[in-house]
């Protein structure tokens, strides 16, 4: 008994330390993103500007130009990390993340429709993307429903829906001028280049509601992990809780996609990376969210400064280039353990 308690205490302490370190790292990269650029501003000056004591020039550069983009990276990363970890734990599969099972594909399709077919831009695009993502999630859930929803049926139906959405997308992309098509391609790769305060505010409002709800309802996850029967015996309404968590995860993913586009692999990899750092065998929600934010901020930093001159990569290209090899490594090792 005492040995179990010791192990539990050690895991709890490790979780606390890792979470704290991750939070500090996220804060550091966030400040760095505000300070480095064409006009470097020292970190103390950045902090002073954030608290309202900056010069006119610093105010303009930090608050108007850099802060929306950095905040977008932070919020989108948090949301993707949280959403991915929720999906992976609910479907009990380390490979089931919203970008594989078709949730982000719906958002992308809606955005491509807006940009290419209807020719609208601005805040309508993220709003449509959010609606598209949520609608697709409902469709996937309904199609996977057959006296309850099992993880693998949901995943396979999602893969089918994703293929359908991808094919519709490539159709709309051939029907437009190549410049507009490229603009849409940048959107569906994921980029923060166009993000302004309006998008950040919208995402902030949603996340203030969604994140606490996910954390509260997420407490039942460890009970759900015991299996449906055991969870029911412990007094958890399994189907209802699972539906609620899936809806929250889909909404988080939809909000994140609406701001930055479906940035590849952030939702997919945050959970597994957090698991590895924590060594608990499953992704904690807080640490996954922080890992997501860290990846996104770092990748966007690299995307802005990797190419010299005026060229900027979309952030999704960076996460894709780094994420793809790591993913293959992860697939190889995850399957070897047969932990599905």
């Amino acid at each position: 008994m005492s040995a179990v308690v010791t192990v539990q205490r050690r895991t709890a302490r490790r979780t606390a330390i890792v979470t704290a370190v991750l939070a500090v790292a996220v804060l550091a990269v966030f400040l760095l993103a505000l300070s480095i650029g064409d006009f470097p501003i020292a970190v103390p000056d950045v902090v002073r500007t954030l608290f309202g004591g900056g010069t006119v020039r610093d105010d303009y550069i930090v608050l108007r130009l850099r802060l929306p983009r950095a905040l977008a990276g932070l919020l989108v990363g948090l949301a993707f990390g949280l959403s991915g970890a929720l999906f992976q734990r609910l479907l009990r599969n380390p490979l089931a993340s919203p970008d594989v099972i078709g949730v982000t594909a719906g958002s992308s399709l809606a955005a491509v429709l807006c940009l290419v077919t209807f020719g609208v831009t601005g805040v309508i695009v993220p709003a449509a993307a959010l609606a598209g993502g949520l609608l697709t999630s409902v469709v996937i859930y309904v199609l996977a429903w057959r006296r309850g929803v099992t993880g693998h049926r949901l995943v396979l139906v999602g893969i089918g829906i994703a293929a359908l959405a991808a094919s519709a997308m490539s159709y709309f992309l051939t029907r437009s001028d190549v410049r507009i098509a490229t603009q849409a391609l940048v959107w569906i790769t994921g980029s923060f280049a166009r993000v302004g305060w309006a998008e950040v505010r919208m995402a902030g409002v949603f996340l203030v509601v969604l994140v606490p709800a996910a954390v509260l309802l997420g407490r039942t996850l460890s009970v759900l992990q015991l299996g449906d029967d055991a969870a029911m015996a412990l007094g958890v309404r399994v189907e209802r809780v699972r539906l609620g968590l899936l809806a929250l995860a889909a909404a988080l993913c939809g909000v994140a996609t609406s701001v930055g586009g479906p940035i590849a692999f952030v939702a997919f990899l945050s959970g597994p990376i957090a698991t590895r750092i924590l060594r608990t065998g499953r992704p904690g929600l807080a640490s996954s969210a922080l890992v997501g934010a860290l990846i996104t901020l770092l990748a966007d930093f690299a995307a802005q400064h990797l190419l010299s001159g005026t060229h900027q990569l979309p952030v999704g290209v960076v996460t894709g280039a780094v994420g793809a090899p790591y993913l293959l490594y992860l697939l190889a090792t995850a399957n070897r353990g047969a932990r599905t």
Binding site: T150, G160, Y171, R179, F265, F268, L327, L328, A332
Partner: protein, 343 residues
Amino acid sequence: MLTETTTVLPRRRRTPLALGLVLGLVALGLAVVASIAVGAKGLPPSTVLDALLHHDPADPDHLIIWEVRIPRTLIGLLAGAALGLAGVIIQGVTRNPLADPGILGVNAGASLCIVVAISLAGIDSMTGYVWFAFLGAALAAILVYGIGSLGRDRATPLKIALTGAACEAAFRSLTTGILVTDNATYEQFRFWQVGSLAGRDSAVVTQALPFLIAGFVLALASPRILNGLALGDDVARGLGQNVAAGRALSAVAVVVLCGTATAMAGPIAFVGLVVPHAARLITGPDHRWLLPYSMVLAPLVLLAADIIGRLVAQPGELQVGIVTAAIGAPVFIALVRRKRVRG
């Protein structure tokens, strides 16, 4: 899935099956004629026949038929047959009812290689694409199957499908990475990517033909192997088959067939998935009938989808890849819901 042993078919089943195959061929012939006759400029069958028998290079109608419609129809026929056979083999070898080159990331691998070819090597002809499509398809197939079958429980449908989807995501993000920084490549690539029978050179057919013939021969020689594998590796070994060699040979056939079809027509999903299932409803699990049936039905479906695409969006047209996805994805989802797929 395949539980029935059918080494010897009773004679009374053989005749209707052979008749059905003849019927399928007749339907395919009609589809070919329709594919030549139907389009932006409708041509009466008499003109079609006239053009086929007495080719007059000065007549614009004959020119349309020989330069546009016939290459298009030929590519549909060949790519369809290749995809149908590849679908049967891939489903048989992986014992996975949901296997399809589009879902398993083979197409995405071919796409990535072609984008690299356009962007770095400056290749700009369909005839040049073929080799790179091949290379990409082969590498992707090996990668997906290799990673998906690691682990104690070997290659389950879910693991293969997920690995395929994950690899596809990886390939696609690398592809877009190249495309967003290179406008000229994107201008070329987006028309290949959508999957179409139109605008392909007839030189593509001549170039692909040797590979297709090799693939067809390999595929049509494989029913014994596939029937054996359907019973499980141990039984197949007990029947005196060399399981590893059989698997490898089938894999080569799949890569050759998928690679060539993708190189000719672009990534066309779901034909390889849906047609074998439809054929299996008619023939049962015996691969000696399943393979020829799929080889006839798949081009029929592809040509029909192409004709539908030409008719519904006049004066423009829907690319065949869009039509097959629109038909195929619902069928895929219905299969997932109906079958007790092994997790």
